[in-house]
Amino acid sequence: MTTKPKVAFYWCASCGGCEEAVVDLAEQVLDVVAAVDIVFWPCAMDFKRHDVEAMADGSIVATFVNGAVRSTEQEEMVHLLRRKSQVLVAFGACSHMGGIPGLANLSDTASLLATAYCESPSTVNPEGVLPQRHSEDGGRRLTLPGLYETVRTLDQVTEVDYYLPGCAPTPKLIAAAVQALLAGALPPKGSVLAPDIALCDECPRKASKPDTLALAAFKRPSEVILNEEECLLAQGVLCMGPATRGGCEAACVQGNMPCTGCFGPTSRVRDQGAKALSGFASLVASNDGAEIERITGTIADPVGTLYRYSLPASLLRRRRVAVS
């Protein structure tokens, strides 16, 4: 066996985009592979859970976990990897803040299963068969992981050392994080490994943002032909830039689309959606209640816009559950 530092990757409730981001390191990935020994990566390498269980506690230098935690299996794996690792990094928006899977916190398990297995137009399931935790097949007892009602962030399940933000984290930030890790030059524990400034600060359209903004309607990107030079907020589009941490070099804005907030807030903000709400509402060009109601009503989906990646990490964490 080599004596290179051991590194592991794991995925929970995620889309695979974070694995893609590692591959997007392109030729830099060769430097990473040369410097470390990847001991576990279900997406790319054939190691199993029992291989991890056989390792000594703390023998993995760093584990990068992407995805939110929803199932009992994910929770078990996260606890296992935490124990085996010196450093646990929440990799990507889903493990950092819940991400897109975190929007499931607007619903509950029963209705999600009903939609996916019974009600969707393309589903044929006349008997209403739903996945069961335990079932029998040919005399064998089969078990599926249980689904929790609430999607959690990685740090709501176990102790997290660092956060690599983004949907997905950019190759530049990943490379910087890996280098810092190998050089032992990591910032204080709990840090988000990206600049602690708002995205607007590094936005190429920063200069075109007017000093005062007053909007009579909010528009979705599909409802307007966007000018490629001007500040998107000034064009009436909800750009999360002011309430979002920089570090992505305004990738979406450079593609003429508004920021959707995947890097999360800066360290001074507890609840990204609330802060964005505060900022957007201040732009409303009216002092009259009914008119304000109309203008804010043009925001089609407030929770899905303000908390697109951060609902499980927000102060309220989820839609309120009715108490029986």
Binding site: T72, E75, E76, H79, L106, G146, Y148, E149, T150, V269, R270, D271, G273, A274, K275, L277, S278, F280, A281, S282, V284, S286, N287, G289, I292, E293, T296, G297, I299, P302, V303, L306, S314, L315, L316, R317, R318, R319, R320, V321, A322, V323, S324
Partner: protein
């Protein structure tokens, strides 16, 4: 406003709502002070937090109050045109409308979040507002915001201990 059905927890002993009230230093806080000096009694369910302007109330304060166990949040500010800082109350009004809609999507009823303009002399209207809100929130029952215990908790503990 239609009367909402009584929450289940309201049934045994009378449920006493906890309401966090953010009052502007220049108007509603003085109205509450006036209510005190003139011995006007209102329901003791509100916990008053004095802020320099209703415009200082970050939506995070409101969410934090709900997350930490408030059953309702009341904001008191200066009447339109009367803001000590000219426009703070208008900013509050704009945030209020968007925040109330966001809260509704997250399952928090409109009656639990209220904005009222109350000047320094309006101790009687303050009493009416507080009493009315307490009754409406009482009728709704406790907010119970905590994330519910999960069905597989035992299993998870077992795994964590492994």
């Amino acid at each position: 406003m239609p009367e909402t059905t009584k929450g289940p927890a309201a049934a045994p002993a009378q449920f006493e709502p906890r309401i966090v009230a953010f009052f502007c230093n220049w108007c509603t806080y003085l109205a509450a002070d006036l209510a005190g000096t003139t011995r006007i009694k209102y329901a003791p369910n509100i916990r008053v937090v004095r802020v320099m302007c209703s415009g200082r109330i970050d939506p995070q304060f409101v969410l934090d109050a709900f997350a930490k166990g408030a059953d309702g949040v009341l904001i008191g500010g200066c009447h339109p045109g009367d803001c000590h800082y000219e426009s703070g109350n208008y900013k509050t009004l704009r945030r209020f409308h968007l925040l109330r809609r966001t809260l509704r999507t997250l399952g928090i009823e409109e009656e639990r979040f209220r904005l009222e303009w109350l000047s320094a002399s309006e101790a009687e209207p303050l009493k009416a507002v507080v009493n009315d809100m307490v009754e409406k929130v009482r009728a709704l029952g406790p907010l119970h915001l905590e994330v519910p215990a999960e069905a597989f908790a035992e299993e998870a503990e077992e795994v964590a201990a492994r």
